[in-house]
Subunit: 328 residues, 3 copies
């Protein structure tokens, strides 16, 4: 629908029209939709995006393309990341951030809203508090819908950027010992990442209080794929062999009493002391925001990868936008 952008070619981009690319015209709804080959393809493009941003900052691959950034609940980081991804590709954004006050409050249904927005935009990024809302939207939209989090459901681009972080920082994910720490029961982030990692030859370690352990359903699913999994209530035993430490937040509200919370909370705070027991070559990740799970003293440690993780998020989302729009 859109003219080729000559500027893109003049930068000698490694990109071209890829209308037969594996994600062209597709929705990004769930980590379940990706094969190992898809991931390789996405990360090849994301890595190229990283290089392009380092070299020229912004380029016109998606010039003339418009993203409707539809957020039914606030998420500064995810919204800003998609906006930046589109703008660094030369595209434009329609920001729709306060839908609680909008025509949705007049009773408009999600299918009607997305069918309206696709009259204006080329791709829709949707954040919504209800599980399944993105699949519903995609069913009605003829243009690509990207799930930016639907309640306790999925947040596939978070999982994709998490895995991309591991690839870029450690060069591979095969053979790695990945330790997930904190609230593994409620964490949609760790659930999705675990499922993506199951496509590779990894060892997964779960460290959490018993009430917040990884759900049996996921453990069973990954067992079925032959993934080695171990559960711990403390970090110490497994930290020394850990290649990737993925920290998540434990919310006080998950516990029955203040005492129950106080009993475990300090076990799961990462400090410079903690880091002394870790490998020299390993990384600490966190989906952010953090609220004390990693002390700020750790930030200066080169193994602290959580801010670089945000940056990898930019490249991952640039890759996804370019691919669903047939430009990479």
């Amino acid at each position: 629908m859109t003219l080729e952008t000559p500027t893109a070619n003049s930068f000698s981009l490694p990109f071209g029209e890829q209308r037969n690319g594996p994600l062209y015209g597709k929705d990004i709804l769930s980590v379940h939709q990706f094969s190992r080959e898809d991931l390789t393809h996405i990360y090849t493009v994301a890595h190229e995006m990283r290089g392009m941003v380092a070299r020229i900052g912004t380029f016109d691959l998606l010039k003339g393309k418009i993203l409707a950034n539809l957020f039914y609940e606030p998420s500064t980081r995810t919204s800003a990341s998609f906006t930046a991804a589109m703008e660094r590709l030369g595209g434009s954004v329609i920001p729709i951030n306060n839908v609680q006050y909008s025509s949705v409050s007049k009773g408009e249904s999600l299918p009607d809203t997305v069918r309206t927005l696709e009259c204006y935009a080329d791709v829709i990024v949707l954040r919504h508090p209800e599980v399944g809302s993105c699949a519903l939207a995609a069913q009605y939209a003829s243009k690509p819908v990207i799930n930016a989090g639907d309640g306790i459901g999925e947040h596939p681009t978070q999982a994709l950027l998490d895995l991309f972080t591991i690839f870029e920082e450690l060069g591979t994910s095969d053979g790695l010992s990945v330790t997930m720490l904190g609230d593994l029961w409620n964490g949609r982030t760790v659930h999705s990442l675990a499922r993506l990692l199951a496509l590779f030859n990894v060892k997964l370690n779960y460290v959490s209080p018993d009430v917040l352990k990884m759900p049996d359903e996921i453990v069973a699913e990954l067992n079925g794929k032959g993934i080695s999994q171990q559960a711990f209530t403390e970090l110490d035993p497994i930290l020394p062999e850990t290649d990737v430490l993925y920290v998540t937040r434990i919310q006080k509200e998950r516990f029955e009493s203040q005492e129950a919370y106080d009993a475990v909370k300090d076990l799961y705070v990462i400090t410079p002391d903690t880091m002394k027991q870790a490998k020299e070559k390993m990384i600490v990740m966190h989906p952010l925001p953090r609220v004390g799970e990693i002390s700020m003293e750790v930030d200066a440690d080169p193994r602290a990868a959580y801010f670089r993780q945000m940056e990898y998020g930019l490249y991952t989302r640039m890759a996804l936008l370019a691919m669903v729009l047939g430009k990479a």
Copy 2:
């Protein structure tokens, strides 16, 4: 004030600087300001916009121009539509969507706000809950102001896009039988559209419960222009001859009792059964959002034009922005 955009010419656009165009530098405040000739001119440009979007998606006709999109009350669709219109023309947008929290809450007057914003922007789109606010803003602004809805007053770009939809879908509006259905008493949309249609040789049919009939004032105004008008309380008698069925929402709150509401509400719901009685070549329109007035089963009917109507809104607003800025 802005340099000619060479890119525009390189696309062989049918557009050029039109500083003597009929809308150059003008405000868009009311449907009353348009003659039949103006409409022809607007729709010629809007039709060209449609072709350009189909061929190249986005182009640089308004590159370097800035729109201040000033919304004192939320309206996702209208706001997104103007944003997309400006972005598809290569221009930029200053989104101002939450004015309840802004300097207006410090007591700033509308005249001061628009005189401030026109220091930054080239054109102002204004949505405001008070009747007459856009005229007030236009009185103080030296740059064009476009009314995006002022309370129960006017919403001229909605009426313009409604009429453009009729032209594009049916090729003309002369000779048509246009049936307006639902709440005709409170509907600023149908009032404005009726007034625009009165410039053409149409027959207007009003279908509503008695308490929600078309106001006498408007009926009298259109009678004075020789427009044939008929009122009904049911759709059945007039549906078979209808070329355009314009459906609006009936709000429960308009009725004195639940019984009074229940008595009429089902009479005005459009279903596939309803459509069996309609002409083969006709269109169903709705300003959206709908809340059950048209069942979702009707969406697949090619006569269901309400989503295409949203798209025509984009072209209409692109035309208006280009024209008031002297570029079409």
Copy 3:
């Protein structure tokens, strides 16, 4: 990090890469950071921006650069002004206007937020209700942070634009008699402007009710710099010699009783009658929004400079953005 924009050169801009410019890579946090030479440099660029906007409206000096416009409290004018400044320079904006609903509400700290946003953007504009927040942000960010107001702390770009207004309107600030009127106790605006003016050879006159007089600390600071200062409770004695009348708002809440407020409020309202006592060549300024401090009848007086002041704000912010990004 970003490719040179050939478009910029093709407009024969007086701008080029100035990676050794005095503000390149710097934060803009406080008026205290500027020397007289810095101001001369900033205003030379701002004046060039004024000329460029007059001639071509928008140009591509910052094409490909991204501004994160991070507002923790609403400020329509300041936010719109920075957005317009970035867009007129060809750059893009990530608008973040409702942080009360965002990850900050999940407890994210400001240092983490800015370190996240600088993964996406090239420069961060920050408005925050707490004094010192911008300095804190700048301490953690590796990219430039521009203070757009931190509580009762500083609002340096307001002071810079105020002084630029004086330069552009009166050609100099040396030798001027500058009268500040209204609430001089709480006005961060007049405090910052007074400090900037102290770099020049000016005479400062303070007109306020006794309870709202200029704080002793600032008077002492400026005395130490040899600035002549006089305090008044009425405008009449000093108006005839005034070159710049800087009006600020007096809020009823600052007074102990309605009577105390009523006793002074009318003394400080500028009307056409007031203007009869003023010089023929002088200017009236106001940071806006006004709520009756200057009657609307004064707006037509050519000496009323407060809307032009908004426009100078655009040029000042364009200059600052270009300079911190090494492009001017």
